[in-house]
Amino acid sequence: MTIQTHADETNGTPEVLTTADGKPLKTSIARALRREKMRALLLIAPLLLFVIITFVAPIVDMLFRSVENQIVSTTLPRTVVELDSWDGTTGEAPGENVFNALHFDMTVAVERKNHTQLGTRLNYEESGISSMFRRTGRRVDDFGEIYADQFIDLNSAWEAPATWVSLMASPDWIAEQAAWVADRDAARANGTAFEQPEPAFAIREGVAEALPRTADIYQAFAEFIQTEDQDSPTEEEPWNAVYTGLHDDLLANPNAASAFSGETATLLSQAANAVSGFEKISLREAFIDADEDWGNPYYWGVIQTFSPSYTSGYFLAAADAELTPQGIQMKPEDEQIYLYLFWRTLLLSVTITFSCLLLGYPIAFLLAALPARSANLLMILVLLPFWTSLLVRTSAWKVLLQQQGVINDFLVWTGLVSDAGRLVMINNQTGTIIAMTHILLPFMILPLYSVMKTISPSYVRAAKSLGATDWTAFWRVYFPQTVPGIGAGAILVFILAIGYYITPELVGGTDGIFISNRIAYHISTSLNWGLAAALGVILLLAVMLLFYVYDKIVGIDNVKLG
């Protein structure tokens, strides 16, 4: 590009460098640089997106799951609101209002079949809650039957779905729904397919003010019927809880009928006059009758403690503590397992790292000292295990270490060990340490070797010529130069070791397992995903911290393979 100079007359600056096309050089260079940056980013973008979607998003999701606790407030929305004002320190179970809310929540939850999930979730915090929910779930629909029967005895019109629709639904919805039925029937008559869903239920204006509880539960009913059952509220008799709601509303607001007109108003005022004479039921007693634990303020305390949408409960559980209505407390001694498991994971990983260093250092030293030809040959002995499948190596150790295995057979044959006294080397910590040292050894040797290769032998020669003994020359001159290699190798092995799952699972028995095995257990067996996520997050933080150190020592860009 040609660079010209010319006087810029407008602002009096004498000279500005420009390119051949007259643009200032500065902007031109900035533009080229920007274009280059864009090109680099465009090349990286597909992979970045791919990794973010397939890998980073799952990790973020796990972080979210470790604190997420929406199940209580989504399953029992009404109860959570009412329970907010309950004071757990009085030693009394909550009052009738909370049980009224619980009745509606449980009715919906039982219909949706998710009350057992909630029970399972709360059972992680306090065992026994699961059976409370299960037992009550079987009976909750009967609680309102007494009101349903009395309404229907009073006037059989209350049994008809149409009565309820004309009472609760907005006139617009009724018209839309009628049009939808006409379309559907026409399609059926023609034999054509009709896939359109029924218009979503809409409540009549003013009902929510006149009959608030009825409106609330009837809307829940209509939504459930339409979305879960694929049916229409015009054809289904409402749940018993809807009658309970109507009973409560009419007791509280005997003039509710004034908000309506025509037949429904007549029907409603007839019912309003009758409800005070209805036989009553205490929902609080009905719940306590279904499971006496509903009368225990302690369980209510647990529900209240875990009603917020986010909880530290899983992290506390991962640290052997628990969130109780009285605050954070340590679990009883005999239930503490995770702190010990973290400690053991740490201890075993340190042992494995140290064994790898002990075995890897001489090998790296030998390989670095030998002439290239023999070093390359011996390197194969390091690289072959490195390249062999993890499961192959684990199965090899299983074959070697078991009581009827090769090593024990050999020891018995040589007479070192009697046939009855075969060594137990597998399904315990020994098995884990031996197998994992073997598996991770190449990760120690390779970084050590690459550092030792760069150390010039002249330093040691100089030390010796100055009178140092072999040991002093090694310890004072050679060894300090290998420390970066030791650091890199040790951190690499340690990072890999603390997250190991397969090998401890196969050769570790019960006392040789790591925190990873517990995470796997919670994902696939106990299904306590929140706790699995919390344990995973703690492990991840540990690894990231170590990796930060590794990056400072070695640098990500200097990671080499093979």
């Binding site: 192959v392 199965s395 074959v399 070697l400 295995g405 997250g499 799952y501 397969i502 994902i523 990671v559």
Partner: protein, 284 residues
């Protein structure tokens, strides 16, 4: 260290030979477990140890029955088919995305380079159990849990860091003026890439692909959580076999996998030498 000088003292001699013995023992520790399964896989009995006949080199003590079992048992055959259905697709995805990104990362001016690098390398650093847990939670939300696509995507993500590292390493020695020369001779960027850059970095791409392949082919933790029975791979089948102690067929499979490792190792070594030669470095 390499050779003992003539003037070495007795102590030095003793140390020299004992050091060599120690190293020999460590090499034995490294290689013995892998070598021992090869003869054991020809065991005529269903034992995981050497029988009397085997030690006496009696032909009756050896047989191919475990290999026969592997090639006829429908479970193992299905597992092998699954492995070969998953690994190549994951490799192609990882190599294509990874090579492009490595070329992008090797440009002179990349904004937020270290952050991007950290994200792209993360699948290699995060412990597999955590990746598996996260993917299990997330993929079951979006309906990919227990599907072929889910497993392939997960394996591709796990393989990309290896492609990036190997290709970036090759690009360090790549002379960028060749690209400029091609451009000045009238080649468009696509032609330049395929005719000039690609042939020179192909050893790095191939070894990256091999790493990605072996990552997927050997991977068991993620597939164990993310897959359903329909995605049961060879390592998964081995894992179940080892946990439940079903049959010594595992040893036959293990021997075959060692053979695959040897082939891969040879190819990689060949590629490494070739790329060193191309870059004008003397082969060590």
């Amino acid at each position: 260290m390499s050779a003992l000088p003539a003037y070495a003292s007795t102590g030095q001699r003793v140390w020299h030979y004992s050091f060599r013995t120690i190293c020999g023992l460590i090499f034995f520790f490294l290689i013995f477990p892998i070598l021992v399964i090869l003869p054991l896989s020809f065991n005529a009995q269903d034992f995981f140890t050497f029988t009397r006949e085997m030690l006496a080199f009696d032909p009756a003590g050896y047989s191919f029955k475990h290999y026969e079992d592997f090639f006829t048992n429908p479970d193992w055959q299905q597992a092998m088919r699954n492995s070969f259905a998953i690994a190549p697709v994951a490799t192609i995805l990882a190599t294509a995305f990874g090579t492009l990104a490595a070329i992008g990362l090797s440009q002179a001016h990349v904004p937020y380079r270290s952050v991007i690098m950290a994200i792209l390398i993360s699948p290699m650093i995060v412990p597999l159990i955590i990746s598996a847990a996260g993917m299990y939670f997330f993929y079951s939300r979006i309906g990919l849990q227990g599907t072929y696509v889910g497993v392939v995507l997960a394996h591709a993500a796990l393989g990309t860091p290896f492609v990036i590292i190997t290709v970036t390493a090759t690009l360090v020695g790549f002379d960028r003026s060749l690209v400029r020369a091609a451009a000045s001779l009238g080649a468009n960027p696509v032609t330049t890439f395929f005719k000039v850059q690609m042939p020179l970095i192909i050893p790095g791409v191939v070894s990256g692909a091999l790493f990605a392949f072996i990552t997927s082919f050997d991977e068991v933790v993620v597939v164990l959580f993310l897959g359903s029975a329909g995605q049961k791979t060879l390592p998964w089948q081995m894992f179940t076999g080892l946990r439940e102690q079903i049959s010594p067929t595992i040893l036959a499979v293990a021997s075959l996998m060692v053979a695959i490792s040897i082939v891969l190792l040879t190819v990689l070594e060949f590629l490494r030498r070739r790329s060193e030669r191309l870059r004008g470095l003397s082969p060590s």
